[in-house]
Every structure is written in structure tokens, then in C-alpha cells.
């Protein structure tokens, strides 16, 4: 199992100056705690499960920069169709990370229907198999910090769309993310940052 902060650490270490990082739910809280920049899109408030769809739109509009979506397993389950939508467009610059802790952590750590605990047969769903079946060819699964940290450069640098599934330790009782400010103002700031960084080094 990987601690949430350790799951995000390679993304912070390896992100390029021109990359956009989208975070949602628990990942947003952890990412914000480590500090954010103008090309970080904290998707709080969000629409349930749609970080991958937002990331796809950004990837299509900004094909010259990498878009990294830090999604949760509960969120991914709410929008599995987006995996198919993504591969239909096949953006080479999109990376989807699923931080899988098996629970809806921000609502009190109830098991998701995809987790072993949440299923009558006790076998959790295989996100890597689902991604492959949806048409992703660059698919990775890591269950410990060391292997993820060692392979992160290759995974994040693979030709997209990339799907990375990380087994993350659930922590019951952690608070949900808070919006860092009025969403509409942040949207405008983000658009300005995108515009200003069009020609930034990659």
C-alpha cells in the first residue's frame, strides 16, 4: 500500500513546468497541503467523477502540454465511460492516475462497490484490466511506494493516453478537501496561466 502523499510525490517531482495537474477529492487536499502553482487545477467543487472528462477536454485543447489527472477510485467508478471516451480521442498528452483506497474517504470511508470489502464475492475490480479493455495501451499498476517511485518517470513519460493504478492506503476520518477560493475566479486565473505559459519551456 502507498500513502496518499507518497503516491503524489513522484508526480510533483517529475512534472514539467508546462504540465497541468488536475486533482480531485482526497488528492486535492493532499496536493494543496504540499503547495500549488498556477497550472494546478484543484477540481473542488467538482461534478462527481468528471475529473477525467475535464482532463480530456484540456488535453484536446492543449495538445502541446501534458495533462495529469489525479483521480480517486470512487470517482473513476462514477465515470467509467470516460475511459472509452478518452481512448476514442487517444490524446497522447493525457495521464490518468487512479488513487485506489477502496473507500469513499471524504464521506467517512464507506467501501466503494469496486473494493473487495464492498463486493459480495470479496474480489476487488481490476482497474488495469478495465483500462486495457477500454483501449488504453500504456497501463501500469503499483502496490508499493518503491516500485511506483522507481517507475514513475517511465509511466508518466509514456505516450498517452496513460493509465496508472495505484493502491493507496485509506485513512478513515480525514476531512474532505476545501475549495481554495471562489471557483469562477480560479477558472479565470487558470485560463490566464494557460495563456501565459503557452510558450514556456516544457
Amino acid at each position: 500500500m502507498i500513502d496518499l502523499e507518497a503516491a503524489l510525490a513522484p508526480v510533483r517531482r517529475l512534472r514539467r513546468g508546462n504540465d497541468v495537474v488536475i486533482t480531485t477529492m482526497a488528492a486535492s487536499r493532499a496536493w494543496m497541503a504540499l503547495g500549488t502553482g498556477p497550472l494546478d487545477f484543484t477540481f473542488v467543487p467538482s461534478c462527481m467523477g468528471h475529473a477525467t472528462s475535464l482532463g480530456l477536454g484540456l488535453a484536446l485543447a492543449q495538445p502541446q502540454r501534458r495533462i495529469i489527472v489525479c483521480n480517486g477510485d470512487g470517482s473513476m467508478l462514477m465515470n467509467l465511460g470516460s475511459l472509452v471516451t478518452i481512448t476514442a480521442q487517444a490524446p497522447r498528452n493525457l495521464v490518468v492516475l487512479v488513487l485506489d483506497n477502496g473507500v469513499y474517504e471524504v464521506t467517512g470511508a464507506q467501501p466503494t462497490p469496486g473494493s473487495g470489502e464492498g463486493r459480495s464475492l470479496g474480489t476487488r475490480v481490476d482497474f488495469a484490466a478495465m483500462a486495457r479493455a477500454a483501449g488504453f495501451t500504456a497501463v501500469y499498476h503499483f502496490a508499493d511506494s518503491e516500485s511506483w517511485s522507481d517507475a514513475a518517470a517511465a509511466a508518466l513519460g509514456a505516450e498517452g493516453p496513460v493509465f496508472v493504478w495505484l493502491d493507496v492506503r485509506a485513512v478513515a476520518g480525514r476531512p474532505g478537501p476545501r475549495s481554495p477560493g471562489p471557483a469562477a475566479e480560479r477558472a479565470l486565473q487558470f485560463v490566464r496561466a494557460i495563456t501565459l505559459s503557452q510558450d514556456a519551456p516544457r
Partner: protein, 161 residues
Amino acid sequence: MFAGEQIAELLTSLGITHVVTVPDSTIGRWETAIAQSGITLVRVCREGEAWAVAGGLHLGGATPLVMIQCTGLFESGDALRNMLHEWKLPLYSFIGYRSYLNQETLPGDTSLTFTEPILAAWQIDVRLITEASQLHAVAAHYRACRAANKPGTALIAEGNA
């Protein structure tokens, strides 16, 4: 009511770069012409996705249009709420109004009961289009919404399910 070529020409003139869509039997017939016009079609699996994809496109500097049927509007609630009212993204949409012109295929279609009240509940500026002669009204409404930096919808009457 409209041919695909008419719609494609209209969207091109408005500067639309991407059409994010789930087809129905009316708007689906426009896809080929739209794609041939050079506008990128983004086919999504379910309509709620369309609003978030369009939101990402808008944030990235593109000019998207959401094109779905009213039944997909019913499915879109949370995504629409978030993109239009929390992030305040001025997304424009074409929404096919199922059974408006006749109910031969679906007698008693409840789309007629709920579509306009739901658009009103979501506080979207709507222009109802019921005749082929109103294509110019779609353009005018789109431009007005863009100028006001607000979302809008052309609610396009359909006669088939």
C-alpha cells in the same frame, strides 16, 4: 429541420472548434457534415460527460459546443450545475427537443413536460427553435450569450424519437 451542412456552416461561422455530443435520430444526422467541416467531434458515452469535456476544452482555450438530446439534459444535472454555476463557464449547447413537432413515435412523451422547466430550473438562457427559417436566430442567440459571457442553449424542436 436542418441539414447537416447548414449546421456545419453555422458552427464554422461561429468559430466552434469542438462539438461534444451524444447523438439522437435528429442531431446524429449532422455528425458527418460537422466532421467534414474540420470541427472536431468528441463523442462521449453519456451526456454528463459532455459538460465536463466542454469545460476542459473551454479552460484550454477552445470553443466547444455541447450537442445532446433533452433526455441527456436530464442526465446531465450535476455536471451542468458544476460547470455552468460553480465554475461559471459560458458553455453553449444545442439540445434536441424530442417529440416537440409531433408525438407519432412516442405518444405522451414526457420530454415535453419536463424539458423547458428543467432548463428554467438550471437558469439557462434558452432560445426555442421550431422552424427551419430560424437558423439565423441560433447564431444571434449564440453571439448574444458569448457577448454576455454566459451559458446558453438553442432548444431545437424535433419530430422523431
